[in-house]
Amino acid sequence: MASPKVAVVGAGVIGLSTALCITETCPSCSVTVLSDQFSPNTTSDVAAGMLIPHTYPDTAIHRQKQWFKETFTYLFAISNSAEASEAGVHLVSGWQVFKSTPKEEFPFWSDIVLGFRAMSEAELLKFPQHRFGQAFTTLKCDCPPYLLWLEKRLKATGTQMYPRKVADLWELHSEYDIVVNCTGMGAHQLVGDKQLSPVRGQVLKVHAPWVKQFIRDGDGLTYIYPGIHWVTLGGTREKGSWSLCPDAGTTRDIFDRCCSLEPSLQGAQDIEVKVGLRPARQCVRVQREVLSQGGVKLLVVHNYGHGAGGFSVHRGTANEAAHLVRECISALQDSSSRAKL
């Protein structure tokens, strides 16, 4: 098999980073990205892109930690390079505050982010309703810049990208040898995965350039994430809601909650409201599958269901998916050489 043809379906952070990892791991492949949406219209574009992991209940912690570590290391190097501003990757420090002391004072990722420690009494004075906090420095991937930078890296490898709505993976079997499913919430329809369900998030993007620190309530519902050109204020976690329409009452509520953590936000300008559906699953699906239909096989690698933690683990899961693609290629080469005997 001279040049295996790989189709990556999905062009959010998972699709693009997986495609890039495939070009790195399997240089002989020809990779094509197909998606009905590209930046700035993907779910990833709504997210703030903060590297603060979400915990998946059914994925082994050591695996989640490995994914996060790989992602953090990868982005750390970019943030320190001349490409940082183009890639939209930058360090940001801040606080995660809790109204009541959490069970776990040191989450599994605390030794991967920088300078993790409990907040001092003096720091907690700023948050009279909160009794405990964690201070650390982490990374943020601003979108669209990060996605556009991934697209640019892909184009440099010769990867083609086409807008196309794939309604059925089998549509691709005649043109491609391997299909990589990075469709996020789209997998609900595309592969009929009922374990995947939306968790609706509404956010505000505001102009408040004096806000240099992130603040996050440990309940995950209220957060202030300063990006390059705007600050993302959040948010909501509405399980099972498919609505992509901004809700005015929710906007008011998010703004009020964020202002109570950071009063200077009262002066924020140019509020833009966005909605995204987190593709939530009990465990991220990074898995090979062989589909069969009338004697024909289709090799699929799944990489979806990252829920609230897509950015935090994207590079780690992309690496894993790329290795699965390489296994598929080996399998294809084995069966094709067997066929020759």
Binding site: N80, S81, A82, E83, A84, S85, E86, G88, H90, L91, V92, S93, G94, L114, G115, R117, M119, S120, A122, E123, K126, A135, T137, D142, P209, W210, V211, K212, Q213, P226, I228, H229, P263, S264, Q266, G267
Partner: protein
Amino acid sequence: MRVAVIGAGVIGLSSALCIHEQFHGLVPSLELEVYADRFTPHTTSDGAAGLWQPYLSDHGNLQETLWNKETFEYLLGHMHSAASKEMGLFLISGYNLFTEPVPDPSWKNIVLGFRNLTPKELELFPGYSYGWFNTALMLEGRSYLPWLTNRLTQRGVKFFHKKVESFQELFSQGVDVVLNCSGMRAGDLQPDPELQPGRGQIIKVLAPWVKHFIITHDLKSGIYNSPYVIPGSEFTVLGGIYQHGNWSEESSAKDHKFVWDSCCRLLPALQNAKIVAEWSGLRPARSSVRLERESIRLGNLQAEVIHNYGHGGFGITIHWGCAMAAARLFGSILQEKKQLPAPPGPRL
């Protein structure tokens, strides 16, 4: 009681505000006036990045450390209010970098979350083997000076755009007390060989992805002679020049190159930052801040001057502590002139 403040930088305006806040209720005849030849945005305070951070060592000057602390706490107290944005006040974290271990600074317990850098953090800064991380405050002159001016104007304080040539000039007009907050040009009013310029030059760039201040230190070349990057609310300031005794307020190509090259080495992505402006200014450097009363005999009158100048590169850092100290000196002048009601004595 006419009080004239000479100087409309951070020291002059904050001293004026502090005095008016404390005494206008007690002294009905109090009239406060501010005289300056330069107002915001043309003062030295406007050029400063605005980071609250004292020098590395206080050289045993505990008085100054206390004034720094009072300033930090005063500013931190304003952080919960919506006025902070108008004041140009916000929290910021960042790095101080060294090529060798150094003792902790006098201000380690004043700032928030002071700690040493971890090995992984030091990987970000090749060439530096030791450092600190802490959360401090930014107070941008471009916003703070107008905010102070507004507060003063609301209180009826008058402003005069003129260069005062001598203390005499004001006293002969009927001013009772002069507050000398003339910064770099205090020597024009009264020679002071201890006051020398600490010339600085900065480049203002657009680099909104930078969220931390980064101050490097070269213990051999002295304070501020090593690159620093300080992100403001709109622009990021690149600096690293401190030339003792250099009076030039013009930008030098050599200094520009040093600042640009060394900051880009520190943060490679700065190469893509757009340069917006260049500025050079004179830090009013002195071995210690001159904050004291001086009585001047004019015929059969005793005129009072309160000196408050010589804050070097830490004017914003120390301003409120000094303003309060100046206000205390003013209070003692009022008591001597019996302008203040005597403190309550024992009841018989």
